[in-house]
Symmetry: C2
Subunit: 392 residues, 2 copies
């Protein structure tokens, strides 16, 4: 009887402890920050500007990115080493982890939240996992380049109607995969989209997929309302006349901003932000900036564009007014200003300052620094509001 009581009490104590370790709170104002060098993430509270948990053991997190489950409780972190890690941000712990490829970059979550896709360089292809337990649902090998190698897959995004879209670097293709029936992926292949697509983006409404081309000038546009019509080349002068940059120096295409009916994008090898009209996708302006832009990001209401820059200008952030197309502020937050993330309604932007081991938070109206918090070599910042947005 005593033993029984002990057992009962111990189990009550244990479950109390277990639940005490997890937070009972809304998840709408949370986020994670990648600690690149340590292979860990910090779970943060966006409202109080505080860290809640540190989660370790995520492997190589250089160029890591993350997506969220539709309930905004779980972050799926994509590592450079092929690691895919599911983190419970309410409990501050890893629930599942697989090393699914040898060398990978980027991932996406399906529209309905049930599937996680990862694009791999080696072996070239896309693997698709259950978002519940990370079991493999589909393995989609890329086109063979030769008897030993398949094309690298890049620019993977989710799209409406339960689709994933990605490009094949070596073979110049863009594939649209419909996962409505997970057991039977339907693949629609666009061949000859252009030479060496190296990255891709999808417009916020999920309609247009645009692949950057390393092997030629211009960009390949696919209208996902009409994938059967194939891609067309837009901005044919994009990159023209430039010395070839190494591929890792090419601008990230996530670094595009849409504001109203205009896109703002980093120039290639120029200290410029290009302004392009959506629809015909012709350039309508160029804005001179401090260095080679890396990320060109719109405040969610489209009123401002925030730009960071490649080394050696990565100590600077510039803010552009989207109406006057003028730089209205130059900030010097410190060396290694790597990543920016806006609050979903735009009142704040969080910026990773790697060499200061801190996150700086700016008020986007006054353009003043209002908070900072210590984070070990921070890179990507990912707020849970991404869960509700296509292509993020």
């Amino acid at each position: 009887m005593r033993f029984l009581r002990y057992l009962l009490m111990a189990s009550a104590f244990y479950s109390a402890q277990a639940s005490a370790e997890c937070l009972t709170r809304g998840t709408g104002d949370m986020g994670i920050i990648i600690e690149r060098a340590a292979g860990s993430v910090q779970v943060v509270d966006r409202s109080t500007h505080q860290a809640l948990f540190r989660v370790e053991g995520l492997g190589d997190l250089s160029h890591a990115s993350a997506v969220y489950s539709r309930d905004e409780r779980y972050a799926y972190v994509f590592g450079r080493d092929g690691g895919l890690t599911k983190v419970d941000i309410l409990c501050g712990k890893i629930t599942h982890r697989v090393v699914q490829g040898g060398n990978s970059i980027g991932g996406a979550i399906s529209q309905d939240g049930s599937l996680i896709a990862v694009s791999n360089y080696e072996p070239g292809g896309v693997k698709i996992f259950s978002s519940q337990d990370l079991t493999l649902v589909a393995d989609i090998p890329a086109t063979a380049v030769n008897s030993e190698k398949r094309a690298k897959t890049v620019g993977l995004v989710d799209a409406p109607d339960q689709r994933f879209v990605f490009s094949l670097y070596d073979t110049g293709e863009t594939w649209v995969v419909d996962m409505t029936d997970p057991a039977k992926p339907q693949i629609q292949k666009n061949l000859n989209v252009g030479k060496l697509p190296y990255d891709g983006l999808i417009t916020r409404d999920g309609r247009y997929y645009i692949a950057g081309l390393f092997g030629q000038d211009g960009l390949a546009l696919l209208d996902l309302w009409h994938p059967e019509k194939g891609t067309r080349l837009i901005l044919q002068d994009y990159g023209k006349g430039e010395q070839k940059l190494p591929v890792y120096k090419m601008p990230h295409l996530e670094g595009w901003a849409m504001a109203g009916n205009r896109a703002f994008l980093p120039g290639v090898g120029h200290h410029q932000v290009l302004v392009v009209e959506r629809g015909d996708w012709n350039p309508v302006g160029k804005i001179s900036v401090h260095g080679q832009p890396v990320f060109v990001m719109a405040r969610p209401d489209g009123r401002q564009i925030w730009v960071n820059f490649a080394f050696p200008d990565n100590d600077t952030i510039q803010v552009i007014d989207t109406e006057s197309l003028k730089v209205i502020k130059t900030l010097k937050p410190g060396k290694g200003a790597l990543h920016m993330e806006f609050a979903p309604r735009g009142e704040e932007v969080w910026i990773s300052i790697r060499d200061k081991d801190e996150i700086q938070v700016y008020d986007t109206r006054s353009l003043e620094l209002i908070h900072s918090l210590p984070v070990d070599k921070p890179s990507g910042i990912f707020f849970t509001s991404r869960a509700h947005t296509t292509g993020l």
Copy 2:
């Protein structure tokens, strides 16, 4: 000793129970549904299509609406009787409730989540409360109509840069209130915007505020990037040549949809949906539909428009393809199809069917009914993803 053990066990049991009453879960896929007749709300899980809690005692919920705290844990419900109720959706209970006016309609939450504004008919004006505890922060009386009466306030929305915007029915004004310093609201008044503004909307990016006019044809547009320039009349034929409808039969302006660069809006007194180009705001098309449209809503990717209708056609929903501008499906879900709410990434739409006491969930790709759940005389449906969106 035995007693001590009993106490310990009882307290452990009690705290287990207490924590069992609140859920430890992500809040990104939750929502509430207004039970209009009962004065209650159901808290629902969007992923499992199930009710989690029923919360009673919210007063008169005819035309009730709701907004969410930025953490997506608390719903603020605006009742017709001036009641403002804060509901904890993780614990299924009311945390605060005030009856703040005698006769009110609609409310909004500030960009930073700290303030809740409510627009009142009686006494005419806007009251602003702390989102924490619903204490009064600011009381903004409307323009006096005579010695006893102030203008009714209508069309209240939140806007970027910590602003609220609303219109004054009796005096034809639109006010922009900047709450950056809550102790000193800065009010910018636009006079003579048009006769009898009866409702308002803000575009998704937070730039344009549009007031519907009951006393004349056309709509009043205010560019919030330049509120100093005042309003201008757009769509000057809107409502023209029509028999006057009673004001409660005028289309709700929340029932506008933006898809790509086009707005879709209900015709006044016509069985039509109007198509308008953003920018010059000129009409570019009319789509004949089954009845007088009430809500005209875009699937989040802008690919489809879903329309419901006024009595006696409120047993019907039509789906319009935004490319061909054709009706592609006519659904007969049952009488009293009052409200529609899309999943934030658009794969589903939930529809209240009042006279069947149920919610129907449709797959937006197949346009088929996939789930239903019982709810007592359901009207408004509000998903937590609204927390991250301006003007919702």
